[in-house]
């Protein structure tokens, strides 16, 4: 059974620098890292120290509150260093690859014969577990819970996002294996959200829904809302199709293999395209000699809405399959607030760029204005295809009113769903971090 759901609300930011559908030379990266900062609500505790020898799948650290949730090395080699920030917070664990890509053996036998506990344990041991996201509140799933359903998004609609139909076209078997594995974890259904006309339509054991429309149609939160919304007390687990492939590979080859195609995108990239690399790889080899260097550049692991700002010497995240390079935009703009704006892309209708809807634009990381109180109404609703009242939810969070947050539907959204609200906001309100604070409060309150 499947059906097509038309998403009307939302917005596609027309950025320059879409990844060309071609695969570049494989990157010989020797340095990798795992970043505890990529996961919200995580208190990392190390299980290795510098100079330890590791394989792909060897635990590097675990979650202090849930010791069964392990984070493992993506490659084999040596722990190079543990980098810490303020108050000795662990920022990243760097691994130097030995070039052999050996993995811990995770063989458990045929997928069909496995029971729920074995599947769970294998996912936990391999380090793939934390790549799944629990909803509500967008945290790592709890191992002792059984989710109502599992939702997989099969496409990414974010600006310049990788095209999984292209990057995973040879992975159908692993995708099917992943679905078979996941269906052991829930008594409910496994859902997969796809674009209409997708190549992945023929999968078994999964309820496929098609989503047509602008971003955030590819966000799993939107797909859940349109198919089986989350109510108070419900817990669902979510993942994207790339993680599903890792899970499929783990169970069919008994090895942890985080190799994937990374989309190299953004207006400041000379030649966009895809590069084969293992998750956690250093950014530098991916984009070396491939950025324009005309202005100060901002490197983002992920997309421009939810990605993480990284240094050129930094690392891609485990869950991000995209690197975006845009201008930093750290310069002033005389009388910018009154300029006609032929070159200024906008979701509003106040710049003449609106007359050229087909064009692609360069956007930088400037705020383009100062932060103000909520003034304009109705702006967020236009880009949020989830039936909540976003401003009322944010206000409930700002006044720390738990009941109200619940009533206003905080169970249904995480940061990525409201990232577009932040983009369009006239008052430059930090929507994503307000929402995160609200969700953290809820977690504390609900225990």
């Amino acid at each position: 059974m499947s059906n097509t759901i038309k998403i009307k609300k939302g917005f596609d930011i027309k950025l320059k620098g879409k990844a060309d559908l071609s695969i570049g030379k494989a990157v010989e990266a020797s340095r990798y890292a795992v970043k505890p900062t990529e996961f919200s609500g995580l208190k990392p505790k190390l299980s290795v120290k510098a100079d330890d020898i590791v394989q792909a799948g060897t635990p590097l650290f675990f979650d202090k509150a849930h010791p069964e949730v392990k984070f493992t090395s993506p490659v084999s080699g040596k722990v190079k260093s543990v980098n810490r920030g303020e108050r000795r917070r662990i920022l990243e664990i760097e691994i130097e690859s030995d070039g052999k890509f050996e993995s811990v053996d995770f063989s458990k036998g045929e997928i069909k014969t496995l029971d729920r506990e074995t599947v769970k344990q294998t996912l936990l041991d391999s380090g793939l577990w934390p790549l799944m996201v629990q909803r509500p509140f967008g945290v790592i799933p709890k191992a002792d819970e059984t989710p109502r359903d599992i939702f997989i998004t099969g496409f990414d609609s974010a600006p310049l996002a990788p095209d999984y139909e292209f990057t995973l076209k040879d992975e159908k078997e692993n995708i099917q294996a992943g679905i078979d594995v996941l269906s052991k974890l829930t008594d409910g259904k496994v859902y997969l959200g796809l674009r209409p006309g997708s190549e992945f339509a023929s999968l078994k054991g999964v309820e496929v829904n098609y989503f047509d429309g602008p971003h955030p149609a590819g966000n799993v939160g939107v797909q859940i809302h349109k198919t089986a919304p989350i109510n108070k007390g419900d817990v669902v687990w979510t993942l994207n199709i790339q993680t599903l492939v890792y899970i499929g590979r783990l169970f069919s080859t008994a090895k942890l293999n985080l190799e994937r195609l990374v989309a190299i995108t953004g207006s400041e990239v000379k030649k966009t395209g895809y590069v084969k690399a293992i998750a956690g790889t250093a950014i530098k080899p991916l984009i070396e000699n491939n950025t324009k260097k005309e202005v100060n550049e901002r490197f983002i692991s992920g997309n421009v809405l939810t990605g993480e700002k990284v240094e050129e010497t930094g690392y891609t995240g485990l869950t991000q399959n995209q690197v975006t390079v845009i201008p930093e935009g750290d310069k002033i703009e005389p009388f910018g607030w009154i300029s006609p704006g032929f070159n200024k892309f906008t979701a509003s209708k106040t710049f003449l760029s609106k007359l050229m809807p087909k064009k692609e634009y360069t956007l930088n990381a400037n705020y383009h204005g100062g932060e103000r109180a909520f003034v304009i109404s109705g702006q967020y609703e236009k880009v949020l295809p989830i039936d909540i009242l976003p401003v009322y939810l944010l206000k409930a969070i700002l006044v720390n009113d738990i009941d109200k947050m619940e009533n206003m539907g905080i169970f249904e959204v995480i940061e990525e769903d409201m990232a577009l609200c932040e983009y369009v906001c006239t008052s430059k309100i930090e929507v994503q971090s307000i929402l995160r604070n609200g969700m953290d409060t809820m977690i504390k309150e609900l225990g």
Binding site: W337, N366, H368, G369, D387, T426
Partner: protein, 388 residues
């Protein structure tokens, strides 16, 4: 690099205005002018890396641009009414007519901005935040909704009252319950009624009061209608050649502004349309049950008379004091339309109702929203048992 010179100048003088600097009391002014000259180079640290080019300054400036046709016509109309009143219109050139009005309206605008922005800058300085752009709009709306003969000191008092009591006391732009411009108008209306209504305030006669032609009344069409004396040409009312507050008379000029606000998406078309629907509906009802000449005015004339059009386009759509939810906006607008015409026609004291209707609905907007929000919550709670 274009414009880097001004930035250098600002960077050089910035320390003087920072805490401990000699000129610290003027920091808000300094920063206000800085962001006026250029959009700062501040870049995102968290959340979405890219942000839309629109900001509150541009939004507010667009509303001011939308008001410009009304303002220019208002200036012309002041001259037009003046020279008609003294019977010299035929001999006077277009620019003389316009400049007569221009020179009379300009001081009102200057006083409005000087007093309003002065208070805003002071509050920004005391509270230590950036200057909010809200007053850019209120500052031009206030002069346009008062009679030309309002003394300047009254304008100053009204502006001060509205900015301090109606806005800053609630926390500044974005926090106020009532539209500040209308509060200024209401303040004048209740504090100095003699200067705000009647037959003598709408037309500036000045030194030439003795030259008034025979049969001149100076009353607005609505004032006359209240007295049972229906005497106006509806097309004069549409184009705006009637006595009235400075900027309210020309429905045509206001429609230009409305088109601009709707095309740019700055003003809510929902509220505008709802207000007009509410007014037309009430006008028809009054026509059906008419017992006096005022009630017999064809229902659609109400859109062109008095301050209705100005209120419906520029006042109801103030995003802060209006309803915030889309459904709420329809209810809010329709009720304003209904109330405006009821107050206008059925209230025996004062033949205009838009101001009070909007202020009343400003008060109720949070209540309307409350019910819309409750509806949204109920919808979510309702589906819960179905899926569990």
């Amino acid at each position: 690099m274009k414009g880097q010179g001004i930035k250098k100048f600002y960077d050089k003088h910035r320390p003087k205005f920072e805490k401990g600097g000699k000129l610290h009391p003027f920091q808000s002014v300094f920063e206000g002018f800085e962001t006026f000259l250029y959009v700062p180079d501040k870049t995102t640290k968290k959340g979405s890396h890219v942000r839309d080019y629109i900001d509150l300054k541009r939004t507010m400036i667009f509303v001011v641009l939308a008001v410009v046709p009304t303002m220019l016509f208002g200036m012309y109309n002041i001259g037009y009414q003046h020279f008609h009143a003294i019977g010299e219109f035929a001999q006077t050139g277009f620019w003389d007519v316009f400049f007569y009005g221009f020179l009379r309206v300009l001081p009102v605008i200057v006083v409005s901005y000087a007093v309003g922005l002065g208070i805003e800058f002071t509050f920004a300085q005391i509270k230590g935040h950036e200057i909010n752009e809200g007053y850019l709009v209120s500052g031009i709306l206030i002069p346009l909704i008062i009679p030309i003969d309002t003394p300047l000191w009254m304008v100053a008092v009204a502006v001060a009252f509205s900015v301090i009591i109606a806005k800053e006391a609630f926390g500044g732009t974005g926090m106020n319950i009532w539209n500040p411009a209308l509060i200024a108008r209401a303040f004048l209306f209740f504090a100095y009624p003699a200067h705000m209504s009647g037959d003598s305030v709408w037309i500036r006669l000045g030194q030439e009061a003795d030259k008034v032609v025979d049969g001149f009344s100076g009353a607005t069409p609505l004032g006359l209608a209240l007295a049972g004396n229906i005497d106006y040409n509806v097309w004069d009312a549409f184009w705006g050649f009637i006595p009235g507050s400075i900027g309210e008379t020309s429905t045509f000029a206001i429609l230009l502004g409305a088109a601009f606000l709707i095309i740019t998406g700055i003003g809510s078309w929902r509220i505008m349309l709802a207000t007009v629907i509410g007014a037309l509906f009430t006008g028809i009802i009054l026509n059906i049950f008419a017992v006096n000449p005022f009630m017999e005015i064809p229902f659609w004339h109400h859109l062109f008379l008095g301050g209705f059009a100005f209120g419906a386009i520029f006042m109801t759509t103030d995003p802060v004091s209006a309803a915030q939810t889309n459904r709420g906006k329809w209810i809010y607008g329709i009720l304003i339309g209904v109330l405006a015409i009821i107050i206008r026609v059925l209230n025996p004291a004062y033949p205009e109702g838009v101001m009070l209707a909007i202020l009343l609905m400003n008060t109720f907007a949070p209540l309307i929203d409350h019910y819309v929000v409750q509806g949204n919550i109920r919808k979510r709670l309702k589906r819960a048992p179905a899926t569990v």
